[in-house]
Symmetry: C2
Subunit: 236 residues, 2 copies
DNA sequence: GTGCACATGATTGTATACAATACCGCCGGA
DNA sequence: TCCGGCGGTATTGTATACAATCATGTGCAC
């Protein structure tokens, strides 16, 4: 393991523009499942709440739509995204393609500094679970994967994983089957162990099976989408 | 090979909002290297050219910044992105991770319809090269990869590849070494052959070596970035 | 001649006003 | 009773005006 404490490159990609505060706040609420998929995000409503003009609200909503967290429907408004079963499958296929390899890279590029951050993060996860803060626990659980991708020092891939994790949060909100969030805890712990020892192959395998566990805990049968809008299918 | 002609899912992800025309036009110009990296895109300038208000121009620039084609600097304006050497390497590492596997999937899901489109595309590439339209040829060359990813029927991954191809265009504009674009032609032809025969493993290998060829045709030595702004490094 | 301070001009960030479009309840006719 | 047209209301799309910030060039002090 390297011991150099290179500064962590936590540059939010392209999200620093106008309405950053708003983007962050909404993003947080969505990740913590306080805003559920399908919720309408009215512009006037948000501009009232945050005391900014609709201009910046629109800007923020646009940013979120590019992260695929909200869906913009022309002349109808912004809604928290509702990934379909098909999209859900795709997201986890993509994660299966990217994350195991990234975990391996992370193990190889592990630093003392990063390990400390990772352990602290794990601690925070446990604390949130213990405190019964389900939303916060879920968000941290997702962010754990993002942390790892950042350690791998591939900001481009990390950006993709960030998007995938975000969508995963929505997917979990829609399709979660069991309520056992405990498996997460152990899986993450085991991953940190492997990463700490620089065991890349182990980390890769652990990540792969961890992702598989998540997918199998989802109910992705071809059900008629939760609440589809015929307009979105039968476009004139 | 399947023969069902399922409708191609060419849904532009989240890019249908305001200023779509503008986004398309600018995107085209960037892909064809008519707008070079570092070029400033003034808001008034664009609003004059396209006869729309600055509101929609800003919206379009924001969209492009989320695609990482342009960089938005607060209070200083929008510029066509200048990927660094490091970012260039990351982009092609990501492509190496995603595209070969995707090519394999494409081979497995090939349809008569898709094959026809692919061949037509190849023809267009040849025509552009023959006509000496270097910019157009380059753009089509990139779009070829996107077509394949769409055939693989993984819209999420296809979206990532689309972004990577876009960045690749900028990278090529900055770091291209040789001027032999002919290799592309043969590589793409070979790929289509493999895809047509449903030879997934071959397609995967061909894509891998094709991407490697592109990278080796780049000059990615650690050079002092083309024209950096000290402000971007020494942030107070 | 060099370096700093300030004023001026240009460009972006934000807010507001108006126009276009879609949603929803009502009403009339079959 | 059900379907289709119609108008009011609400919400989004676009344009414009004003405020804040940054770039540039001049002049003065050293």
């Amino acid at each position: 393991m390297k011991t150099t404490a290179e500064p962590s490159s936590f540059i939010q990609p392209t999200i620093g523009g106008p309405g950053a505060q708003l983007v962050a706040s909404l993003s947080l609420a969505i990740h913590e499942h306080r805003l559920k998929p399908g919720t309408k995000l009215g512009e006037d409503e948000l501009s009232d709440i945050y005391s900014v003009s609709r201009t910046v609200v629109r800007s923020a909503l646009q940013a979120l739509s590019h992260s695929e967290l909200v869906e913009l429907k022309r002349n109808r408004g912004a809604f928290v995204s509702q990934p379909t079963v098909r999209e859900a499958r795709e997201v986890f296929e993509a994660r299966a393609l990217l994350e195991p390899r990234t975990a391996r890279s992370a193990a190889e590029r592990m630093t003392e500094d990063a390990l400390a951050r990772l352990k602290a993060h794990l601690e925070a996860e446990h604390a949130a679970i213990a405190a019964g803060e389900a939303g916060k626990a879920l968000r941290l659980s997702g962010q754990f994967h993002i942390e790892i991708s950042h350690i791998a020092d591939q900001t481009t891939i990390a950006g993709f994983i960030e998007r995938l994790v975000a969508r995963s949060s929505l997917i979990i909100a829609l399709y979660w089957k069991r309520q056992s969030a405990l498996c997460e805890k152990h899986a993450h712990h085991a991953l940190v162990e492997a990463l700490a020892r620089g065991q890349g192959a182990d980390a890769e395998d652990l990540m792969k099976s961890h992702l598989l566990d998540i997918v199998t805990a989802l109910d992705l049968r071809d059900s008629p989408a939760p609440s589809v809008d015929l307009r979105d299918i039968l476009k004139p």
